[in-house]
Symmetry: C2
Subunit: 564 residues, 2 copies
């Protein structure tokens, strides 16, 4: 099993730290060809600067690292974690279910072969990035993300406010999350917060209609290739535990899950049989495998469930409908809400972040910004403070389906009610009438809400509402969301964000086609389309034909004016 | 040659007028199946209302009309036009070039066979919709668009401000344009203005790399099928004159062109040889063929051309670069600007609208909202007043490439400087880094600017910047822009816009899959994706599998609560 990611005419480079000279921050460097102009009849060659691109592809795109999926990725952060002295390696895994799976030899053929023993905080110690940040400690992870975010823009003379100290402050105050389970040392540090690049999450996972472990790992790598910043494994089918081990061990980006899905599988899909004990064991199982963040639908309160009755589309979140049903069946408060502090105590021991799931998110335009949605948001605002009190990093999930004019209220209310915790939204879709194109309906909303302050956007593929995405759908979904996130970065004025736009546009204007392709979000597609246009050689494309190119005319004008 | 458009389980219906009972406004009616619910164990069947959809497909989707492309579409408006008594049929066509083509028998095999003699306003008379509107006259065209815009929403109890009188006022004050060349009576009336549904334009046309007349007509019909509201023929290749005749005669939506393209072909591509006389003859040629609006780059002034020199991407409008070059070569003011009143005098005789072309639109993020762009906008504001003085309907073209945070300034400035004339923008693209996906980068900007007040959006296909679009690209481009336009309509609160969203979402929630498909913008694609998901029967999709469907759980909850 081998996976290799190639980007044409790009070089994998590593930038060293200053506080931590040993860290090596991965980036992709695109080398451009020089520009050729004519001045007074003389040919003038002017070099074009290298463009540094934020790179989520991990070791898969480093030709000097031979990745063997059977062994997993290099454990980049393990030394940093151990060196801090706050964690210990356990003699064996803690979760009962995990042990049961381990001891079931019928699963041996499915199992990842090199499972390491898990780490956990020592008794009385805390190992979360938020804890360190609050203590005024800058970790190597923090310097890593500071360097990563800036994409070497200082080399071009662009000032940046993103320093390791700034990163520390943002994490300390809960405005940003650096998901970094101590048991997922393979992940390259990244940060989620509204003063940083807008991130995108991609979802993978098998369902009952099943796909194999190989396929899921392949999808994970594929998602990282196209630019997914985090990866949620939403598997609900068979062998979730084993599949997850393969994914985490080979995933260079943080991994998220929705533990209630697996808990429900453990009680054979019977919502009423869910218990805190089963859920708790599932949390520990996944903490020790290395999941970096959990979606937890603790914002659903017994007395709020009925608020969804008035809706056109009821409850459309799986986790939300599960927990609502549980509350109604047992006629009591949800165990996620009641045990929220216990949950935080567990997660703090591994530095797993909480993504507070919006179980009552609107599932259509009509239901947007309603009482149910906002009641849950209020609860999430209460819970995020409780998470922070335990030094657990946390962010808030958001809708869903929202028309353009109601997006702003979502963002402003989230900032206010949730005390500046990062917002992580699914789209939102700005209309319901385009199944088959919901990557687009949602990218419109995502760009808007990203601009207004949402820190991470959960991608939507063309198959949303219709079927599970295949590889091509994942690619289209990721690229579409990179567009939305980047549009938001430009609008927010993120330092260095516009460097790539300007470089690509200059290449376009100068007919440096290859540079244009290499700087594109999807270089392969751009080239395929270009070639399909039967372009023959030089300075035109088939859109206007050889005699009708505005850009060429525009060049001629410049030359003419220089002569005059 | 036959073209038939079918929409599954939809009926072509016609709504009569009140002021003009003889008019029949075409719509598409989707019949839904009833909802089945259970109350106290009893099965309850509740009918769902018909949904009326704005329909641009013309007679092609009416099974009672046999369209023969060789004969062209029924001449819907001819009687209305003639009845007003302001026009006369000419004994022969006026343009010299048109006569030359007519007399060239080597073209006979290409020629549309049933060319009617053109109409023109009688001496001393005016025949434009703006003229009638200013006189307080409501035309059948005005009532037609009022009915069309409302999509029968009153039947559902939705109030609407869109009355024939409102339409008249909007046209009289220049806030809306009803493109309606008296020589294109086949077109169904539609309106472009910010208090109406946001419209979309699609571009077709051959270039030197050529496509046949058949292909262009097929693309025109195809564009109307997917929802294109107007169609621009941007041909620059051979036989433009003959191709245009075929398109106009078979096009149920208004047709726009950029006459300078054809004028340039007439001087063999030599910009310096362009003259007012050649351009003038081209205008008349196209007025008499039935083109409904002309893009005219009269906003380019000699003294403003140099403003583009500072840019990263110079001039990216074809018409803009042609006229800039002409100004520089001759070192004089453009003939489009100097002869603007003469142009208006010609256009008024046929009720051809002017689309003031933005020759200096920005071609990349870096160049957005710069001095060149805004200087041209000021000129366009001056020209639109001059057009109105001649009773010529007019709208203003806009960018291009603009980051999200600079879109608002574009819209506000356009409204102010151009005195509320409708804005018609190309996207704008909100980032430059995604060639191959520019339908998406631009739809994000289009939805935003549409919400803020842009009246018509010019579509962009996935091949933008790379190649000429094929049929599949046209489909994707049109549907993507229908999404952007509809998102804007929802945000603006257009009466009845949300009816379709609500109907589709209710169908989705009730697992009425067929209704969901029929109400989709692209029903065929939705069904293809759905089927690819190997869905077997009832109430779930492959996204969650049979045991994990939030919507089904949500239904169960409602039932449970009803029981409790």
């Amino acid at each position: 099993m081998n996976q290799r990611i190639k980007f044409s005419r790009s070089e994998k480079v590593y930038m060293p730290g200053t506080l931590f000279p040993e860290i090596r921050v991965a980036m992709r460097k695109v080398k451009q060809v020089p520009s050729t102009t004519f001045e007074n009849g003389e040919k003038v060659i002017t070099p074009n600067p290298d463009v540094y691109i934020y790179d989520t592809s991990g070791p898969f795109s480093d030709p000097n690292i031979e990745v063997d999926l059977k062994k997993g990725l290099p454990r980049l952060r393990e030394e940093w974690i151990v060196k801090r002295g706050d964690v210990e390696q356990l003699p064996e895994i803690t979760s009962e279910y995990g042990r049961m799976r381990r001891d079931d030899h019928s699963l041996d053929h499915l199992r990842f072969e090199h499972i390491a023993l898990p780490y956990r905080a020592k008794a009385g110690k805390c190992c979360t990035q938020m804890y360190y940040a609050k203590q005024g400690i800058i970790t190597p992870e923090m310097e890593y993300v500071a360097i990563r975010e800036n994409m070497n823009c200082r080399e071009l003379g662009i000032e940046t406010y993103i320093t390791p100290e700034f990163v520390r402050q943002e994490i300390a105050e809960g405005r940003a999350v650096l998901p970094a389970n101590i048991n997922h040392p393979e992940a390259e540090p990244m940060i989620i917060g509204r003063n940083f690049l807008v991130k995108i999450n991609t979802n993978i996972g098998n369902s009952a209609t099943t796909s194999s472990i190989d396929e899921e790992v392949e999808k994970a790598v594929w998602s990282c290739k196209w630019g997914g910043d985090t990866l949620m494994d939403l598997s609900t089918g068979e062998n979730i535990h084993e599949t997850r081990e393969w994914i985490v061990r080979n995933c260079p980006v943080p991994v998220g899950t929705v533990p209630i899905y697996q808990a429900l599988e453990k009680v054979n899909g019977k919502v009423e049989d869910l218990t805190w004990e089963i859920y708790r064991d599932t949390l520990i199982e996944q903490c020790e495998q290395g999941v970096d963040y959990f979606t937890i639908h603790a914002g659903i309160r017994r007395h709020n469930v009925h608020l969804a009755d008035k809706r056109l589309c009821g409850i459309v979140s799986r986790g939300g409908s599960i927990m609502s049903k549980w509350c109604l069946v047992h006629d009591r408060e949800s165990f996620l809400y009641e045990h929220f502090d216990d949950i935080c105590d567990i997660l703090a021991q591994y530095d797993v972040a909480i993504s507070l799931g919006d179980g009552l998110r609107p599932g259509c335009i009509q239901d947007a910004n309603d009482e149910a949605q906002f009641a849950e948001l209020d609860t999430m605002g209460e819970l995020v403070v409780r998470a922070w009190a335990k030094n657990v990093q946390a962010f808030i999930e958001g809708p869903g389906h929202v028309p353009l004019h109601k997006i702003k209220e979502n963002m402003e209310r989230q900032i206010e009610k949730c005390h500046n915790a990062p917002f992580y939204t699914l789209g939102p879709l700005v209309t319901d009438i385009a199944p088959g194109y919901d990557h687009i309906t949602s990218a419109i909303g995502a760009a808007q809400i990203g601009w207004l302050g949402t820190a991470m956007l959960c991608y939507v593929t063309p198959k949303e509402h219709l079927a599970l995405p295949d590889k091509e759908d994942v690619r289209v979904g990721v690229v579409t969301y990179k567009i939305a996130a980047h549009a938001a970065d430009l609008a927010k004025g993120h330092p260095g964000a516009q460097v790539r736009d300007n470089a690509l546009s200059k290449a376009r204007y100068e007919f440096r086609w290859k540079d244009q392709f290499d700087l594109s979000l999807d270089s392969e597609r751009a080239q395929t389309y270009f070639r399909a246009g039967r372009h023959l050689d030089g300075e035109y494309c088939t859109m206007c034909g050889p005699n009708f190119c505005a850009m060429r005319l525009s060049h001629d004008l410049k030359k003419k004016e220089q002569k005059d």
